[in-house]
């Protein structure tokens, strides 16, 4: 188990490869988000019930989806890292966390912005909102745990364990809050009560989501490059030339 399977897919080789991929993802992200916004604002009609406030969902829903996707992907990398003792997958997990936390924050904030005109309250203890909030706490916990550990190896592995524990926790929270809401009748407001969605709206939302995916790829890859450089700088392999190469290959 302890064999380093990724010995040959070295970070030094990955760094320039990531550098080549980032521009493509960035351009794709930019184009898709512009198209998504165009459809969202100019093609999609005004909702007869909610008026134009519903347009917030074009960022809210994709951001909420991304926050969960990214958490699962981060946990998957963490699990691979623990299972195969592979440092590059820990680096991926480390690079995903801040972007995931950011999307979670966006989802919460836009949720409040959508909730105020729709429900008349900035915040309700809805199962989705609550699990989103806990998701943010978990992202922050993982980032803080990593920051608190000086030894890189331990930091990688400890935050990986926490990420995996969190994957079990979030669905449990979702269902427990739903259960709790049915107990406290009256306080319960469900987002599923929103009206049936028109095809154009769905299209805009999906295009925005794909755009956010591309954005996440680009930013995560760019951050992995920073992580690689930061880690190489300390003479792990006692190999100074590799640092030079990485810097040149930029």
């Amino acid at each position: 188990m302890g064999i380093n399977w990724f010995k040959y897919s070295s970070p030094q080789a990955f760094h320039p490869l990531a550098g080549k991929m980032i521009p493509w993802f960035s351009v794709a992200a930019g184009l898709l988000i512009i198209i998504g916004l165009y459809i969202g604002f100019f093609v999609a009609p005004t909702d007869f019930q909610q008026g134009d406030s519903y347009r917030i969902i074009f960022v809210h829903v994709p951001a909420a989806w991304m926050s969960m996707f990214l958490y699962v992907i981060m946990a998957a990398w963490a699990g691979v890292g623990l299972g195969l003792n592979a440092r590059p997958s820990f680096m991926m997990a480390q690079a995903i966390a801040p972007t995931g936390a950011m999307f979670t924050f966006i989802a919460l904030l836009t949720g409040a912005m959508w909730g105020k005109p729709t429900w008349g309250a900035w915040w309700v203890w809805d199962a989705r909102l609550t699990s989103e909030l806990i998701l943010l706490f978990q992202y922050i916990g993982i980032i803080l745990l990593r920051a608190a550990i000086d030894d890189l190896r331990r930091a990688d592995r400890a935050s990986a364990v926490l990420a995996l524990v969190g994957v079990v926790n979030v669905p449990i929270i979702y269902f427990s809050v739903r259960w709790w809401n049915t107990l406290h009748q009256g306080a319960s407001v469900s987002m599923t009560a929103s009206p049936k969605m028109a095809t154009t709206m769905l299209t805009a939302m999906l295009i925005m989501t794909v755009g956010f995916w591309m954005y996440s790829f680009a930013v995560t890859l760019a951050r992995v490059r920073c992580v690689i450089l930061d880690r190489e700088r300390q003479p792990m392999w006692g190999n100074q030339t590799s640092i030079q190469e990485v810097a040149e290959a930029r």
Binding site: F41, F42, P45, T46, G51, D52, S53, R55, I56, V59, H60, A63, P98, T99, M102, F105, I106, L109, T110, M113, W114, K116, P117, Y215, V219, A222, R223, R225, C226, L229, D230, E232, R233, Q240, T241, I243, Q244, V246, A247, R250
Partner: protein
Amino acid sequence: MQWGSVSEFFAMGGYGLYVWVSFGVTALCMFGEVLAVWRRHAAAVAESRDVS
């Protein structure tokens, strides 16, 4: 196209504040993140040049 004028577009049927704060903050977060990663990378490259 449902917008009669530019001001109507920005008013968003009375929900302008909510809509534009949402989109604004999202844009701000994303651009901020890109900028932060960019600067971090530049700093990391500069430092690794110093080391070698």
